[in-house]
Symmetry: C2
């Protein structure tokens, strides 16, 4: 991190704003410049001291920065990419699906430049504006980096150190593995939550359905408060892995339905107990981690 003096943030939303705030708190010697199509977000960033300067264009940003974090949704990333041809500093991004970045780079430049380290912080909330920026958003959260064969080891090391400085746990894996894992643990649950809320709202009197919403439904519906455009982009760009997992899920759901319909009490209970065991195991992992074990 010694060579980094100016960090650029493209897209000053929850993630970009939290990176900026994290730098201000933990790396006060680093200057932060941001670019966003929304002038209001930049104004908030300046007024609240999250950023030192607002760039007037992507090109202006590049002239001043050693490292640029692209914090825009997957499909907007595609629009920004061509401008990065001439940039020689380090670049990372935060997209929830990694394959489209690689595909776009191949189409644009015959491959991802060696100074670009694809990344994905596993952090966020249903809020998505700079107002929710949080200097501790990444603390003890995983950040996955998915360097390619041609990625410069020095670039990977710089980006790794950058996230470590924001107190994240950095893990390296392939693009394909990342997209598979996230399809299961994040994209599929979001698809289910959106669909469930939509279906429930369609059953008769909406007010009544929501009035009697018990705990279970509240948790689901919180997920469906996330940004529809962002999730649209994720679902479309990770459709291979996602649809694969979704079909497995639908099959399991149909199996559970059959057990209930046929009154196969023992097999149903076994299935529910297996799920609870897996959940308790997960819960134990989480509490071990938070107690530092």
């Amino acid at each position: 991190m010694n060579s980094i003096r100016v960090v650029g943030v493209v897209g000053l939303g929850l993630i970009g704003g939290s990176i900026a705030k994290g730098i201000k708190v933990r790396l006060p010697e680093i200057r932060v410049i941001a670019f966003d199509r929304d002038q209001e977000s930049l104004n908030i960033g300046l007024q609240s001291g999250l950023i030192d300067e607002a760039a007037v264009s992507l090109e202006a940003l590049m002239e001043s920065c050693d490292l640029i974090c692209l914090c825009v949704p997957v499909q907007q990333l595609e629009v920004c990419m061509p401008a990065f041809k001439a940039f020689n500093g380090y670049v990372t991004d935060v997209g929830s699906v990694k394959a489209p970045l690689v595909q776009n780079a191949e189409r644009l430049w015959g491959g991802l430049p060696s100074n670009w380290v694809p990344g994905h912080p596993i952090a966020g909330s249903e809020q998505h504006s700079v107002h929710a920026a949080n200097a501790d958003l990444f603390v003890k959260h995983k950040v996955i980096l998915t360097p390619l064969e041609g990625t410069a080891p020095a670039a990977v090391e710089q980006i790794r150190q950058f996230w470590v400085a924001l107190e994240a746990d950095v893990i390296v894996m392939t693009v394909e593995h990342h997209d598979e894992i996230l399809a299961q643990t994040s994209h599929l649950p979001h698809l289910l939550a959106y669909t469930l809320v939509d279906v429930l709202a369609g059953f008769g009197d909406e007010r009544e359905v929501f009035d009697y919403a018990a705990g279970g439904f509240r948790d689901f519906s919180r997920i469906a408060a996330s940004d529809p455009q962002m999730w649209h982009d994720i679902f479309i760009t990770n459709q291979g892995a996602l649809l694969n997992r979704l079909q497995t899920f639908i099959k399991a759901l149909q199996e559970t339905a059959d057990l209930i319909e046929q009154g196969k009490s023992e097999a149903l209970l076994e299935r529910l107990e297996r799920a609870k065991q897996a959940r308790d195991y997960f819960s134990q992992l989480q509490s071990d981690e938070s107690s530092g074990q």
Copy 2:
């Protein structure tokens, strides 16, 4: 409530324990007696002052009580019911599915006695022991009563006043309507959560899947920590309404999958936005309620 001097609680778990604690805090003049097959729960109840006395049998409990709350899971309720033939006080229960109670009563006695008011507090948590007993568990939560044609209006009024004294919002509806509504807002979400956790645990390395579990999945998996036996009973006893809703959900899920697969971007975004709007509307209702509007 003037005529109630002794309340009996059958099943001293989260719900039974919270009723007992709520009485101790809000109706200190009322004596609370509990019966549970698990002596340890009764000991905890006595030691922590939740109950005044532990009954040695259901029959002993009935001799002393003016009102009895049956706080046992749906299928255990069936086992307790025959003993209530001779009880003349008021009775209510807390089962999450109401039709089986009515069916059992018809089989046993040709109909539910007029002193029995079927009920269901929409409150709970993934914890389910007396250790989690909470005097405020029902405050501002809905309690649904589903009296039948033959239920005595005086009994309905006593049970209503009882729940109002615990600061719950009491609503009256039919058994059928209750089971339909809950299938949508509670039983279906739990079925999805259990199935999702089970499916994820089955995809390759369990540890890795849970390691990268993002926010969305955490919310789901919390639901799957609920008591498997209780949910088994609910799924089996409300299978008609539940399977009906589940098929509608699977259909909607398949439609969403088709939109993604066929790249129908606009229709997909519309669906996600509709869900978010419904969710935001729900969220607004909740905050209006908590601010007393």
